[in-house]
Every structure is written in structure tokens, then in C-alpha cells.
Symmetry: none
Subunit: 333 residues, 2 copies
Amino acid sequence: MATRMKLKLKTVFVLYFMVSLLGLVYALMQLGQRCDCSEHDLPKDRTISRLRGELHRLQEQMRKSDATKQPQKQPARPTIFVITPTYARLVQKAELTRLSQTFLHVPQLHWIVVEDSPHKTPLVTDLLVKSGLTYTHLHMPTAKDRKLQEGDPSWLKPRGVEQRNEGLRWLREDGRAQPGGDSQQGAVYFADDDNTYSLQIFEEMRSTQRVSVWPVGLVGGMKYERPVVEGGKVVRFHTGWRPSRPFPMDMAGFAVSLKLVLANPEACFDGEAPMGFLESSFLQGLVTMDELEPKADNCSKVLVWHTRTEKPKMKREEALQAQGLGSDRAVEV
Amino acid sequence: MATRMKLKLKTVFVLYFMVSLLGLVYALMQLGQRCDCSEHDLPKDRTISRLRGELHRLQEQMRKSDATKQPQKQPARPTIFVITPTYARLVQKAELTRLSQTFLHVPQLHWIVVEDSPHKTPLVTDLLVKSGLTYTHLHMPTAKDRKLQEGDPSWLKPRGVEQRNEGLRWLREDGRAQPGGDSQQGAVYFADDDNTYSLQIFEEMRSTQRVSVWPVGLVGGMKYERPVVEGGKVVRFHTGWRPSRPFPMDMAGFAVSLKLVLANPEACFDGEAPMGFLESSFLQGLVTMDELEPKADNCSKVLVWHTRTEKPKMKREEALQAQGLGSDRAVEV
């Protein structure tokens, strides 16, 4: 009887031992993964968890309502990396505001904003945080001797060269280290902050294999410039000036695949290139005219416009400032 | 012997039970606190902005799919009726494109586009159809003697007067006849097609009771113009020119409640008003300075910018056209 009792107890003990061992092993595994959240500032963590909660609720809601409609698994969409050089000026916040509103409509877009500045400015930092976009904020001051001076005509020196190159450096060095950054699926586009972009152009460029091209409106003293396509291939360029340049295209008229950018670590913009040859300085090591992929319905549609915003006049501001009645400098414009 | 053995086993069992229970409790606590460490390397701001972006996109998506389902679930949000005068020019499509992208983020917005033209143009018609917005497309040509001529300075004659009045007429006559048009819940805003609008400004104006006001950036030769608020009331205006005007404000700086527009069927813009008095000609019959509702944090934030887009130069286009090599007229720009 006692022996049977002992046996039964032993069995229970062994069983319990095994079960609790599993619990212990699990606890130890948890210890290994442990991260100390208390180190990080609480308000942000709270914001993150609140946002995650809302996101989760919405996703659940959508899953339920979508369940009857369509299978929910979509193929991974290539990311569009948009590199935007920007510099401080009166219209900067306005320009970045409307540009961010455009990008907010584009799925799977990563905005790389590079300030021409020795440091990140609060204006751009704040705008990006509030934008709702996935972004990377960089800065790279233009060397003094390469910078346009007040009053210089805008064509005298190319603007944004060192900033675009800094964006490329980030993609090659830091971007790769991001989660999923090694997939090389994506397109790289150089979008200045004063142009106008239709939403369609982003879907056109998303499938870029090497270098895709399309028309740009209101550029170079023309209604539009564009690659001329015959039999599905680019055979020449419609442009008002030096069509013999290797790639007589505006910055807004092409996208390059991330794969090609990463495979050619030396490709960058040459600030010393003669006027009109900046785009060519980047593209000529990457692709031949024959390899260009025409988009926008064989380059027959204008989906990007090289708009330029007037520099606002400040005559009355200056007159009032002279009387000590100028606008409050604390108000961000 | 057996009893002692049993006792010892029991003690060991109890002790082991307590120890492993502690382990289990710890494991459970870990589960509760669980946090995703892989994201801690990324700056938190980026995580927050990414989450905000995803949230925004989902909300947009849901709004779109909800729009087709049933609108009765949410408490009725006042509609924002945006009246935009527009006229044919090289940058028109670009301007309307980016403006429509802004409006597409704003819930319950009805865009009233009034072309300065004897007929609706295909360019604007097509753009509106594809915009995804709720809109009304009108046209009203400006009388010849009131029209700016090529080369006239832009301040010589006010632009958009008859178009804004046509928008008001539509609200009073046809808009009322629309389903729900008699609810009188809403705000009326005059948004020119070249300005820049933050999304925030639309939420500010949505609750307009009579006339709401806020600062406008980069206008009138100033960094900004704004109503000056003391004790929650507008007491004067910060402007660089004739502050004695009844309402020295830009068109982009105020919204009027639909109720007030409908209750004052004679209120309209006077094209014969002296320069700078156009806004006053409309507002002075509707409201007194004392009644203005200051928005944008007591008029301390600039949420709208009076940006102006440069007229593109067409020198090369003209040279090429002279040789019969101009841009294809069939391509819409």
C-alpha cells in the first residue's frame, strides 16, 4: 500500500517536475530577450503603445470587413526612396508641407530629407515628426565656394549636389543596416521640394528595374522635355538645349533601382560638371540610353511639373521692422 | 521508513512547487510587459511617425470604404465648402493637382471649382473626375473690361471676383437643393489654387459659427499678416498696408459659416472695390471685428501660406516652334 502510494507520488512529482521545468525554461528564455523599457522616456513609449493600439484596432476592424471581400495577402511592394535636398528660405515650410501631403498618399514611401545646413533645423525636424511619413532626416552643408550667393542666377551653380550625394551615402551605408534594408527591392527618386508630383508617377517608378524615365513639364524653357520612344525604346530626347548631352533630362524625370545604386557605390552627382550635365554625371556610369525604361505611357504623359515658387517680397516687413513693428520672430512661417 | 520517505518527498515537493510557482509568476509578468526590442535601435520619433503614417493611411482607407457604406454612423461633421477660382495658364494643371492632393486628406470637404472661362475646359473636367474628391464644377467668364491683360501687374485688377460670386450663387441656389443641403451645417472658404494649406487649417475652420480668422504667411510684403487677439477677441490687425481697412485680411485668412452666407443672400465680392478692399467688401455686411472668431491658437500659428508660382519661361519652346520642332500640342501639361 505504502509502496503504491510512494509510486503514485513519484509519478506526480516527475510529471510536475517536467511541466514546471518547461515553465522555468520559458522564463529563462524571456530573461534572455529582456529589454529594459524604463530607460527610455515614458511619454514617447506611451505614444507608441497608444498608436500601436489604435493601429491594431483599425487593422482588426479592416480585417473583419475585408474578410468577405478579398484575400488579404498582398505581394511585397517595392519601397520608393525619395531623396529631397532642402535649404532654409521663406517658402521652405510651405513647400515641404505640400510635398509631405503628396507623399502621404503614396504607400511604401521612405522620404530622405537632406538639409543644406551644418545641423538639423528645428523647423524641418518638427515638420517631419508631425508629417506621418516614414523618413530619414540628414544634413550636409554645401561647401562655401560651391554655394549660390544672394543675387546669383539660379543656373550659376547646381544646387543640392552634396545633399543628394549624402542621401545616396545613407542608402548605401545606413539604409542597408535597417530591418529589410538588404532586400534591395526599391526605386530611388530625387524629388526637389518645389516641384509638383502627380500620385501616378510614383506607381510608374515603383517597378524600375535599372533606370526608368518619363516627361517633365515646364522645364528648360519648354512646355515639357521628354525621352522620345520608338518601338518601346528611348531613341533620343525632346529638349530645347544641347540634345547631345548623354542624358538631357531633368532630375525629376528618372528613377534608379536601389539594386543599381547599391551595386555601383561610386555613382554620384558631380558638382563640378558643366551646367546641364549634373544628371548625366550620375547616370552615365549606370545605364545606356538603350537600357532606359520608358514610363508614363511610353513617355506620352506629363505626370511631374518643374514648378518654381516665387521668392516672396518683404518690402513692407522691412519697413515695419525699421519702425520696430515687424512680425514676431517667434512665429514660425 | 516508508512514512519518513513520504514526508521527505512531500517537503521536497512543496518546496519545489513554491519555487517553480515563482518562476511561473515571473514568466507571466514578463508576458505582460513584453516589448519588441528590435525597434529600440531606431529613434523613437521615427517609430512614432511611421505608426502615425500607417494609422493615417488606414484611416483614409476606411473612410473611403465607409463612404460607400453608410454615412449615418458618425455624428454629422460640418462640411467645408471650398470655393476655388481658376484660370487657364501653363501651371494650372500642376497647381490644381497638388491642391487636390491636399483636399483629399480632408474629410467632408466639397470643392467648388469655378473656371474663368466661357465653358468648362476638358483639362479641369478630367482632373476633377479623377481627383477622388466631392466637387462641383462651374464656370463664369470674367467680363472683358475687368480682366487682367497680358503684362498687367497682378494687383491692377482683382482676380477671381466673378468666380467667387458664382460659387456663392451656387451655394445659395443649387447647393441648397442637394441632399442634406438644407442643414446649413458648414463653413465656406475661398482657396486660391496657388496657395499652400496645412491640413490643420481645415479642422480649425470646421467649427466656424459666423466668421473665423487666422494668420496668413508670406502675404502683402510681410512674413505674415494676422489678426491681433487680446482676451480672446480680435482687437486690430498686423498688416503692412492700410490697417484702417475694415478687414485688412487676405482671402486665405478667413472662413464664413454656411448659415451666414445663406442668411445674407446679397453678400458678395465687389469687383469695383478699391485695391485691397475686396475682402472687406464681402465681410463688412456680415460681421463686425468684435464678432470674429480667432483660430490657430489665438492667431499665433501660420497654417496657410500665400505662395505664388513663377510663370514658366517658354523661350526655347518658342524657338523650337519657329523651326516646327515645338512640343506636341496633344500632350496635356
